[in-house]
Symmetry: C2
Subunit: 184 residues, 2 copies
C-alpha cells in the first residue's frame, strides 16, 4: 500500500481543478506516493441546496483526510497576505491526528513583508487597523508554520520572487522531500 498524501490547496477553485489534481497525483506517483486530491470523492451533489452541497463536500474532505497518512498544503497567499483558510483548517486537522504536515508556497518572503505596516515606537509592526503584524521570520501564521516544522520539515519556497500561483515547481521539490522523509 503506497503512502497516501492529501493534496490541500485552493486549486480546487480553478476551472481546470481536475487537470491540476491529475498533475499533482502524477508528481506524487513519480516519487512512489499516492496523491489524494479533494475532488477525488466525486460526490453527486445534484439537487442539493448550496448549503447542503458545501456541507457534503466538507464531510467528504474530512473522510479523505482520515484515509491519508500525511498532508501537503499549498500555502501560497490567497485573496490577501495569508494562505487559504480552508487549507489552514486542513493542516490543523491533520496535525491534531498526529499525521505529518508538509507545506509549500509559490511566494517567497515572510508573512510580515506582505502586510502593509508601519513600525511603532515600541519597534513592533502595526497594520492599518493598529493590529500587531506577527514577525516571526515565517512564511505564514505560526500555527501552520509550526505544524510543518514539528514534522521535521520546512515550508518549501521558491528561491526568490514568486512563481505562478499554481506552478508545480516548488510543489515537486516539496513532494521529493516528503518521499525522502516518509519512505524507508
Amino acid at each position: 500500500m503506497p503512502i497516501r498524501i492529501y493534496l490541500a490547496g485552493p486549486e480546487v477553485f480553478l476551472d481546470n481543478a481536475l487537470e491540476i489534481g491529475a498533475r499533482k497525483r502524477d508528481v506524487c506517483a513519480r516519487f512512489g506516493l499516492k496523491g489524494v486530491f479533494p475532488l477525488d470523492a466525486e460526490l453527486d451533489l445534484s439537487g442539493l441546496a448550496p448549503l447542503d452541497a458545501g456541507l457534503a463536500i466538507g464531510r467528504a474532505n474530512e473522510a479523505l483526510m482520515r484515509s491519508c497518512d500525511a498532508i501537503v498544503a499549498n500555502m501560497t497567499p490567497f485573496r490577501g497576505p495569508g494562505m487559504d483558510g480552508g487549507t489552514a483548517f486542513e493542516m490543523g486537522f491533520m496535525r491534531a491526528l498526529g499525521k505529518p504536515v508538509f507545506g509549500y508556497s509559490n511566494a517567497s518572503g515572510d508573512y510580515a513583508a506582505r502586510v502593509p505596516s508601519t513600525p511603532a515606537a515600541d519597534g513592533r509592526l502595526r497594520d492599518a487597523d493598529g493590529l500587531i503584524v506577527e514577525n516571526f521570520a515565517m512564511p505564514d501564521n505560526l500555527m501552520m508554520t509550526g505544524a510543518v516544522m514539528a514534522s521535521d520539515a520546512t515550508v518549501a519556497l521558491p528561491p526568490s520572487g514568486a512563481t505562478g500561483i499554481y506552478d508545480l515547481t516548488v510543489f515537486t521539490r516539496c513532494v521529493e522531500g516528503v518521499a525522502r522523509h516518509l519512505t524507508p
Copy 2:
C-alpha cells in the same frame, strides 16, 4: 471541573490582547464556562530568536487546545475576505480531536459577497484571478462552516451589517448558546 473553552481569534494581535482575553473569560464565567485565552500559557520568550519564539507559542497553543473541551472561534474577516488562518487551523485541530467547534463573526453576509467577482457564462462567480468564488450560502469556507454545523450549531452572526471587529456582543450570544449546548 468547569467545561474549558479555547478562545481562538485574532484578538491576540491587539495591543490590549490581555484585556480582551479577560473580558472574554468573564463572559464565559457568566455562563458557567472556563474561557482559555491563547496567551494564558504566559510563556517566557526572552532571549529567543523570532522563529523559536513563534514555534514555542505554537506548541503552547496546541497543548492548550488539547486541555480544552471545545473551541469558540472569532471568524470575523481578517486582512481579506476570509477569517484569520491561524484561527482556521485551530478549528480544524479541535474538529479532528472530535471536540465541538463553535464560531461567530462580527460581519454579517456570505463569504461570496465579500469577494469582488463577476458572474461568468456558466453562472458561477469568478474573482479577478479567474478563480471560482465558492457560493455555498456560508459566512466562510465550507470546512470551517461545516465543522460548526457538524457540532449542531450555526456560526453566530450580527443581525445585519457589521459590529466593531472586537465587539463582544455576538461573542456573548455565541457563548450563551455554547453553554446551553454543553451543560447538562
